[in-house]
């Protein structure tokens, strides 16, 4: 598996005022933000699709070029934020072209300040792996798989925050 790390150096310039008010000092602090997007093939995806713990996984298949996918991303980001402490994990599986990882996907993730875990699916033999995600998936995106130990459901559709939240709630009911 290939890992690519892009290091973004953000320069934050701030002014520090001394309490005496007589002298002012300007300093530059360099903060390093690392954006790692793992490239996975089906074996890597399979691990994400079959976790057996107490969490509920929301796996969204998307791409930067897919307009309805990009439109629904804020709903997934909001979900991750709101359920952060409730054992819910959102994973965004990008189906961008492998050769556009650095030119397109990483800049997109940075620009949109995506907080959810993003991986890049690079397995081009989609006929082999699509049916393993769900036998009814036609291959169209956006598509989302939600699962936990008790339930598993695949959705070939777009979500709003409201519809996503209410769908997720079915998974969080204690059996």
């Amino acid at each position: 598996m290939k890992k690519i790390t892009v290091i973004l150096i953000v320069s934050i310039i701030f002014t520090c005022c001394k309490t005496e008010g007589k002298s002012e000092e300007t300093s530059t602090v360099e903060k390093i933000i690392e954006i790692k997007i793992e490239s996975i093939n089906y074996d890597g995806l399979e691990l994400l699709l079959n976790k057996n713990d107490n969490k509920t996984y929301v796996i969204n298949f998307w791409a930067t070029w897919c307009k309805p996918c990009v439109e629904e991303l804020p709903a997934f980001e909001q979900l991750q934020k709101n359920y952060d402490n409730k054992n819910v994990v959102v994973i965004l599986v990008s189906l961008d072209f492998p050769n556009q990882l650095e030119s397109r996907l990483i800049p997109f993730v940075m620009q949109h300040k995506i907080k959810s875990h993003v991986v890049l699916m690079v397995d081009a033999d989609s006929n082999t792996w699509i049916p393993k995600v769900d036998k009814n998936w036609s291959g169209a995106i956006p598509a989302t798989l939600i699962y936990n130990k008790n339930m598993r459901q695949f959705y070939e559709q777009s979500f709003t925050y409201k519809s996503l939240d209410s769908t997720l709630s079915n998974f969080l009911k204690t059996p």
Binding site: P68, S126, N127, S138, A140, P142, T167
Partner: protein
């Protein structure tokens, strides 16, 4: 403001769409008889499959201007047409997207793209988005190989062009070519259905 009942209904409908009304399941299956259509080509002429009297069948490809997967396959679609038109299986490309939702797929943009790329095949607009639901196309590109048997068009293959969207040279299984080569030998295609990632059709 949405009432809770409306929200509930909305979710129910969404669930139905998600679970039961998968368009692919409602479209053609292998062995079904495909209906003809009359759709406008980029040269503004209407095209029907009946126009092609000597064709042995067709490679119907739902594709568009705006989808990167479609763009990645454009050269391969042209190559398919050049190779198989002579053998009786021409490519007919249909843009299934509603241009009001997907502006880059409007008729003028289709004309521009067909000219730029030198499409050797008709590139038709599915006006009113009536044809792609009949076929059960859900994404672009989405291929349907039709074979003429007793003057009926039989759906013989549904799916992807080959097994590598991102790199044509790395594709080592060419599903559409294999299907037509089988048909040319008078056999049923060995692989009849494949799946591929694509852009959902906007309608």
């Amino acid at each position: 403001m949405k009432t809770p009942i409306k929200s509930f209904l909305f979710i129910s409908i969404v669930s139905l769409v998600g679970f039961g009304l998968n368009p692919e399941n409602n479209g053609y299956k292998i062995g079904d008889i495909a209906t003809d259509f009359s759709l406008k080509n980029t040269d503004s002429k209407m095209i029907s499959l009946a126009n092609y009297e000597s064709a042995k069948g067709f490679i119907i490809i739902f594709t568009c201007n705006s989808c990167p997967y479609s763009i990645a396959y454009e050269d391969r679609i042209i190559a398919l047409d050049k190779k198989y038109k002579l053998k009786g299986y021409p490519v007919i490309a249909i843009n299934p997207n509603n241009p009001e939702i997907s502006k880059r797929d409007n008729f003028i943009s289709m004309q521009t793209r067909a000219k730029e790329k030198g499409f050797t095949f008709p590139y038709l607009l599915d006006e009113g988005q009536k044809i792609h639901p009949q076929y059960g196309a859900t994404r672009t590109p989405h291929v349907f190989v039709l074979n003429k048997e007793n003057s009926k068009l039989i759906v013989s293959y549904i799916g992807a062009i080959d097994n590598n969207y991102s790199d044509a040279s790395a594709a080592n299984i060419k599903y559409v070519e294999d299907a037509i080569n089988d048909l040319l030998k008078g056999k049923s295609p060995k692989t009849t259905i494949t799946k591929a990632i694509g852009c959902s059709i906007k309608y």
